[in-house]
Amino acid sequence: MKTIAKLMSVGQAAELINSGRYFNIAGDETVLKQLPQGNWIGGTIPYFMAEEGGTVTRDRVFVNEIEVFDEPPTIRFYDLESLPQLCRNAPEHGYTVVIVPAFSPCHSAFAENAPNYEDMYMKPLIGWVAGVHLDDLGKVSPKVMMGTTGELSDQHVVAIDVPLPPDKFANIDIINLFRPGDGDTITFDVTGFSATNCKINGKDASFADYLTANKVDTRLPLVADYCGAMINVSIKGIDEATKRVDFYAPIFPAVQYRIAAPVGDYVNGFQAALPQLDTGITFSCNCILNYLHSNLEGKRTAQITGPITFGEIAYQLLNQTLVYLTIS
């Protein structure tokens, strides 16, 4: 079955919702609020990779249909306390799509603790971090929405658990064009969204001073090799006064990071990195930092479409990475 995955008007989305089918919807808060109640989860974001290319719009929503098989999906909110049950509650055979509001306590809790959740990596988990228009940063909070009740929240995570029949398999993968550069090995002693101290090739150092002294392009993420998966931690900024470096995802102790090698042409590189897939992509999202740093507005990333987000989730929180789900 070919499912819908496209940018559309509120009216078109409302019509689909009223059909009773299940959806994962991204859009600006003002348009999400206009949608009728139904079988959908949503998150705020006005940036998209549409069929016509990178697009910013506050008037339309990106609708991803969720194919339903024998059993209906389950939609629920999680708060800070119940969030660790996310994977345990997931179906034994199926997958979960989750949306996390950026900058919320749930965002940081998920980022730091998800790898240790019960059943993590045992059940497919994909999702994205809701955001806002960059002009609205600090003025409006990113939110998620539970379509079944119409509740909008900047304090909850919304998830949809989708059971699959035994002959179907949900596969989650990533496309990350960044590779570790040939520079120094960087490690940290703590978990967190910020760091002052680090070890450069095993020697104690100030990370802020290191970045400044080496004129590091902070648009390039830190990259770590997780048994072949390149996992980024993007640099948010450097507070020169306190010598604190902030990140968009947590750094973890004992993980060896390197500053990424520069990526030349993102669009062509992306095309080259795109794997040959036997089945279509059911859901995907890409990072706002890739959108900004690679000037993706108006440009296409092959046939892959979806929201451009404040963080991507393929089991755990990722940065500057495209994540996608296929059902085979």
Partner: protein
């Protein structure tokens, strides 16, 4: 056999240790037992020899249930006393015997929520225990191996849990070209855990955990399993 002797036997308490106090509250389905080393003084409950537990050094551990009744054992914390099945580690919620029972259930793939239900223990205590194992802060050293898990792998290409493959994958001496993202992330996490886990039984538990992942996703792991097959 006297009732007190039977209780000593049931709880695996041997001299010089002795039960010095019992509080039974059937309404709460819980029995609390205080255990201390024998002394030469008289005892109001269990005969000639008695002992006492210093309140500021007392620690309580949840022990294996007595029927449907929860059993909590109180004893003095001691860094020097040899391990006993009815004692636990400092800061841990369970006695060694209970830890062994839980570890066996985890090795058999029983879900944590189900373990909580079967044994009537709290999720919080179980997570504390699991965190202790994963972070290498606690072990099962005092537990005798109770190898039970015979996974149903008769027609599977996945090696048995006791195959060397799993420990080699976990300690990094064996590397595979991995395609499945979840395995890349899981193996990375488990290798981190193995760096700090020194207890041999907990390391075995981790091998079972990794093997279970392969059993669960055998169909999707053909590429990875073909590499393992070539090593055999």
């Amino acid at each position: 056999m006297k009732a007190e002797d039977l209780l000593h036997k049931l709880l695996d308490i041997e001299a010089p240790w002795q039960i010095v106090r019992i509080r039974e509250d059937l309404g709460r389905r819980q029995i609390d037992v205080w255990v201390a080393p024998q002394t030469t003084k008289g005892n109001w409950l269990f005969g000639a020899k008695t002992a006492s537990i210093s309140a500021d050094r007392e620690h309580a551990w949840r022990h294996i249930n007595l029927g449907d009744t929860r059993c909590v054992i109180h004893s003095e914390v001691s860094l020097t006393a040899p391990p006993q099945p009815w004692r636990g580690e400092i800061g841990q919620p369970f006695t060694n015997a209970m830890s062994r029972q839980i570890a066996a259930m985890m090795r058999d793939g029983i879900k944590l929520q189900s373990i909580c239900t079967f044994l009537d223990i709290t999720v919080g205590d179980l997570w504390k225990f699991k965190h202790g194992l994963d972070s290498g802060k606690t072990g099962l050293a005092s537990a005798a191996a109770s190898a039970s898990a015979e996974a149903a792998t008769a027609v599977s290409k996945v090696p048995e849990p006791d195959s060397l493959v799993w420990s080699c994958l976990l300690d990094g001496s064996l590397n595979l070209d991995i395609r499945l993202l979840s395995l890349k992330l899981l193996l990375t996490k488990m290798r981190e855990q193995m760096r700090v886990i020194i207890d041999p039984e907990v390391r075995v538990l981790k091998c079972y955990e990794l093997q279970r992942f392969f059993v669960r996703y055998e169909k999707a792991l053909g590429y990875e399993l073909s590499q393992i097959e070539k090593l055999a």
